[in-house]
Structures are given as C-alpha cells and as structure tokens.
C-alpha cells in the first residue's frame, strides 16, 4: 500500500471526509427518515411544524357569530345560509385588530359567480336561479335591488 499509485485515492478520501464534516455542520440535526420511510419520508422533521404554524386567515361563520350574532342569524335564516360570511366580506385574519374593517365585495362579478345562468342540464349550476349578466341591468350593483342577506325577499 506504500506505492504512489494510491495517492489519488487519498485525495479522494480527503474530499469525502471534508464533505462529511460540512454535512455535519450544514444539515439540520432533525433531518432524517420519517414515518413514510426513505422514499417518501426523507425530510427535515421541524418543517412539519413550520407548516402547522402557517397563519390561518379564513375563520368561518362561527368566528363572526361571536360578535355579529344578529347578522349571523339573519344569514342563517336565508337561502344564502350555505355561504360563508368571508366569501363576500373577505378573510377575517385578526379582525377586529387587523384588519379593523373588512372590505366587502359587493361587485356584480361576485354574485354572477353563481347567478350567471349557465344552461347545464346535468350540473347543479343549471338549477340555480340565474340571469344573463349582459342583459339583466348591466353595470348596476346587484345589492341595489337584492339584499344578499335576505335574497328571497327581493
């Protein structure tokens, strides 16, 4: 083994050793094989917590109800009871701290997401009451005539 022939090998081993040292310092200590084995579960464990800590923005009706119970009740009594408040009022996030006031989307574009008539026989869409947005009072805001909280009263 004393032969000079092995010298490139020593260099190679040196490089590998350096890489292993670098690996020790650079790779997070919780990096490893998770529940799903090496093929599907090789990762940094703490990243799961990173994702769990992601900010929740849509808090659902139950959150709105805590302060706006009257509005909640009226909505729940209407045909629009299946729609989340935040679909039109925007995500609550930390409301009322941040944002203090939610921006309500009263646009026509919002209403016609469902109420632009599409003649689709086998889809639930075809059963929803709808208009032709180009012919039905174009340019007007729907809420001028229709109360979104009590849609059946016109």
């Amino acid at each position: 083994m004393k032969s000079h022939v092995w010298r490139p090998l020593w260099v190679l081993l040196g490089v590998i050793a350096l890489a292993l040292v670098a690996r020790h310092f650079v790779v997070p200590s919780d990096f490893g094989v998770g529940e799903r084995g090496f093929m599907y579960g090789f990762h940094r464990k703490s990243n799961e917590d990173d994702w769990k800590a992601f900010k929740v923005k849509y808090l659902t009706k139950e959150y709105c109800k805590e302060c706006h119970e009257d509005k909640y009740e009226s909505n729940m009594a209407s045909k629009h009871n299946l729609i989340e408040c935040e679909n039109c009022h925007g995500p609550a996030i930390d409301h009322p701290d941040n944002p203090a006031k939610l921006v309500i989307d009263k646009s026509r574009a919002l209403c016609i997401r469902c109420h632009a008539k599409l003649p689709y026989p086998t889809s639930h869409r075809g059963e929803i009451k709808g208009i032709n947005p180009d012919e039905h009072n174009p340019g007007e805001e729907c809420s001028m005539c229709h109360d979104p909280h009590k849609p059946d009263m016109e």
Binding site: H4, V5, R7, P8, L9, F31, F38, F42, G90
Partner: protein, 425 residues
Amino acid sequence: MIPEAAHGAELAIHGAEWTIKELFTYPNEYIYWTIQIVMYPYLTGLVAGAFVLSSLYHVFGQHELKNIAKFALVFSFALLIVAPMPLLFHLQQPQRNFEVMLTPHFTSAIAAFGMVYSFYMAIVASEIWFVYRKFFVEQTIALKTKEGIGNTLLRYLYNILTLGAYDVSEEALHKDERAVKLLAGLGIPVACFLHGYAGFIFGSVKANALWMTPLMPVIFIMSAIVSGIALCMLTDIVIMEWKKFRVKTSKKPWEMTAEEIGGAEIHIIKKTSTYLLGFLIAAITLELIDLIFRGYTAMKSWDILRTVIYEKDFNKIFIMQYGMGNVVPFILLLLPGLTVRRAAVAAVLVLFGVFMMRWNVVIGGQAFSLTFAGFMHYHLPIIPHNAETFKEGLFGALFMGVLPFVLFWIFNKIVPCLKFKQGEE
C-alpha cells in the same frame, strides 16, 4: 387584508415568459425545463463519448487513436466540469445546489446522478494524473532553474500536482501505465452509467408520455458516444489544420517537419469515423424501435404524441434530427474516398443531430399537455431582458457551449495534450 405581494400581475411566473399554451392545459403547466436541460444531457453525452474514445486506445489498444486519446481525455475533463453547470443555471435556488451531495435522496435519479458524477470525476482526474505524473515531475525539476514569479508559481502548481510522488523510475512509470489502463477500463462502464443515468432522469418520469420508455437510457448512451466521438474528431481536425496553417504562414518550407505539413491524419479520421458509424447505427435503430412501438401499440397517449411527432415537431425531428443529423453524415462518411474536409462536415452535422435529439426529447416532451388535450410551444428567449431570460435563453446556452473550450484552453497550458511530436511518449 392580504399581503401586498399577493397582488400584482407583474410577478414573474417561471416558464410563463417562453411558454405559449394552446387548447386545454392545466393552469400550472408551463415549459419548466428549457434549453439548459437540453444542454445538460448534451454535455454529459459529449463527456461520456470523449472518454470512451480515449479508452479505446488505453484499454483496447487501438493505436491509431493514440494521439487523439490524450486530447480526448483532457477534453472530457473540461466538459465534465461544465456538464452540471446548465443544471445550476436552471435551478430556482442555485445557491442550494450542494444539498444534492449533503442530503441525497437516492430514489431520485438526480441525486444518484450527483454521486455517479463525482465518482466519475475522480476517475477522470486520477487517470489524467497518472498520464501526466511524469510530466509534472519533469516540470517541477525543469522550472527550478528558471527565474520569474510566473515560473515559480507554475513550479508550485506542478509540485502540488505531483502529490509528492517524484518517483519516475521505469518501474514506477510502469505502475502508472497499469493504473491508467485500469482506470480507463473502469471509466467506460461508469461513463455509460453516468449518461445512462441522464437518460434515466427522463425515462423514469411516468407522468410524461414521451419520455417514459425503458429504452431512454440506452438511447442516451448511444447518442452520447456518437456525439463525443464526433466532437473529438472535429476538434482534432480543427486543431491540426490550424497548426498546419500557422506553420505554413510562419516558417520557411525547409524548416517544416513532415508532421507539421500533414495536418490532420486521414487514417486516424477514418478509424474514428468507423466507430462513429457503428454507434450511429445503434442509436438510430433504438430510436426507430421506440417510435415504431409507440405507433404500433397506440396507447392512450399516442393520439397526442402523433400530433406532436408528425405535425408540430415534424421539421425538428425528421428533417433536422434524422435527416440532417443522421442520414446526411451517414452517407458522407460511407462514400468512398473520405477526405478530412468531408469528415469535418459530417462531424458537425452529427453534433447538430444529437443536439436536436436532446431538444426533441426535452422540449418535445413538454410540447403537449398532461391533459392530452392541449399543447405548449417553447419560444427560446434570444435577447435577454432579465437574468431568467439570459440563463434559460440562447446566450445562456451559448455560454455553456463555449465554456468547455475555454476550460480546455486553460488545461492545455498546464497539461499539454496537443503536442504530438515524434518520439514523445
């Protein structure tokens, strides 16, 4: 309400700049793998080919290839260093590239590629060391007597390169030769493996109907060897002819040696082109088998593939790749009375053909949507107007194409591989 960055159409969607969608495609589909991913298997292919060519001399004793062997070895090293750089240009987070070595996820063809690549790099570097060890020692000794900072630095460099092995006795050199032979032999399967792996990266993507075929690695190896041999042949011709031209213009005729007047040697070219033809036949055969099987079995994807192959990409595949890149050089090399010039033209065409093959695989594989109901067109960014359009545009690719030659020019200063003087070892 919503973070400021959440709005703004000016945000660059990676791929949107050069992708034109047609009919029904998924919203997230773009041509994400562009010209750099064409360059990457192209360069790896050239590496593998050049190395195999040099090994033909070292292992199989093809003595006609002796002169080209040394050159091919050093050139393949230059190519090898550049080969992963297109990937670096293509990464969205290039500064994290080292992770491939630190936390390799071996079920990924790219991670395994990193290891095979490094191993191969070690083999080629060692082989060069064994070939040039005697030269390093000689230079270290010769430069001792020379003055000047440049010479001193050069002497240090050579001294380091000897790795402290100064024994140049007959016996030691004999050991070197045997090591070279062993490494060259070991290098052939590793080179094939390396490039087969590049093929595997594509062939194993089951989501892509054009890429997914077990033939892909073999097709890649064959075309790699073809392109590598063609490149060595061409570079050899150009360099020898250039020397001849320089000698002619600078020296008086009676001072010239026979070697210098000769230029490129036709018997070397002929031998090399024989190998080229053989591998070319293998490559074309495999590609045709693949095409015929796809058509005959006519799986679900065939409808859209047929549209891409026979209509959308017809010119690129049948005219540029098979016609200009395969059939024409094939005829040029087979016609009797091969001349150096004709061989050079054939080599250029072969190189072009292999490049088009890579293009048709990488870009062609993204020319149709995963929906099988739409198409995507790649518009190569020519004039760069931001980093992205440079990196993944024409100039980025040209940069990658020129870099190996620049590196080779530098390497040739340190390990001369173009001095073919008579009587030299």
